[in-house]
Amino acid sequence: MTILVAQNIACEKSDRRLFSDVNIHLSASQLIHLTGENGAGKTSLLRILVGLSAPARIESAPARFESAPARVESAPARFESAHARPESASAKPDDASTNEFTQGRVEINGTDVHSNTDQASEKLLYFGHKQGVSQLLTPVENLMSWCKLHNIVVSEADIITILGELGLTGLEDLPLKNLSAGQQRRVSLAKLWLKTHANLWVLDEPFTALDVNLIASLENKIREFLQSGGAVLMTSHQALNIDHPITNMHLEYQW
């Protein structure tokens, strides 16, 4: 079952093109590990895929202004890429010259992410650099309000149990600012345990600031989720140690 489809995604930051022509097809029980150097645009790509930013609207290449000379220009071999790239993707359909702009599309569970973010994010769980928890609230308060917002019915006792599993026993009623960075991270990770109706996890560097034990249990959680039919798209600087087929996807640094 297809969970996420992305076509022709391009991204521009400060008028520079980070990447274009990215296509992703993610089905159930599939794990894509997105790698790439710092600055290659991994986070930007994930944010586009979940609908936080819009993909760039770019000119389809073969317009009459640049097409012909540019094609010829590409002859010098010394600039040819080190990585062999299938030529197929660059062969744009010929009708591109009539349609001057393309904007990529992302669909999650069959719903367009950018025109209908609310509906598309129903079964999505996005875990970004910013953790989405408030420093002034306690872990329980944070998670309770998050659950209500995401239409998750859960009792306070359930949350406390999950926090206990994550090694936060006794810290449930302290404001988050009194917790260490790793502990705050755990509070935020509890969302993975809470949103049981999710079928897509998009995780941006989930292992940051976690200790070895928790990394293991998180990897275990990811495996369970995959086996239950969920799909995961994640970035991580360290190698994954998950007992499941991993699809690697490399984002090349361009500038």
């Binding site: 944010r47 979940v50 609908g51 936080l52 930013s53 819009a54 973010t117 609310d118 509906q119 994010s121 129903e122 999505l124 996005y126 970004g128 650099h129 910013k130 953790q131 989405g132 928890v133 408030s134 420093q135 002034l136 609230l137 308060e141 309770m144 309000s145 998050w146 209500k148 917002l149 995401h150 239409n151 404001p175």
Partner: protein
Amino acid sequence: MVTKALLAVFKKDIALAYRQIAELMQPLMFFVLVITLFPLAVGPSPETLQRIGGGVIWVAAILSLLLGMERLFRDDFADGTLEQYILSPIPLYLIVVVKVLTHWLMHIVPLFLISPLLALFLNLSVDMYVALMLTLLLGTPLISFVGAIGVALTVGLHRGGVLLALLLIPIFIPLLIFATSAIESASMLLPYQPQLAIIGAMLLFSVALSPMAIAYSLKVSQS
């Protein structure tokens, strides 16, 4: 389900405001201090104070609300709650409406509580005081809703404070004109319903349009 979620946003914002009560009080103290400056600057004669009183309170109210407004989306933006709002099944503009209204409530209630004192300071008559309250009641939500657009636009900038004032103060000039003119009419025992009606119309207009603009601006700011 939507109501429940919005209620959660409301409760959360109330709890957050309550835990930052000191920060919440700052704009209020600023408001009182600015008003205290005027008698010292223009002289304590009751007639002068009565003549400028309505205007002074309104200018101080606009400035202090602008000061407090910066908080509106700042923390949500910084800690990533905003991202979770966007990626929730609840439409962002509804969440924004709840946030703006909560914020307004938290700022306007203390302002109202302290206003009799200020009316006393500036020698306002009872009629003027009633007019002042009515204009504040209709005008301050307008400030909150329109101001939230500016806040949403500048939330990603680190140096947003002064810029926010620069963007918003010109927009509030019509409100200031109608509000002070209502108070002036009240001081002369003239009817001031027309002014109130105009402020009310502007309020409805802004309530109708600004949530979309705020939601769009927030998305631009965090992209």
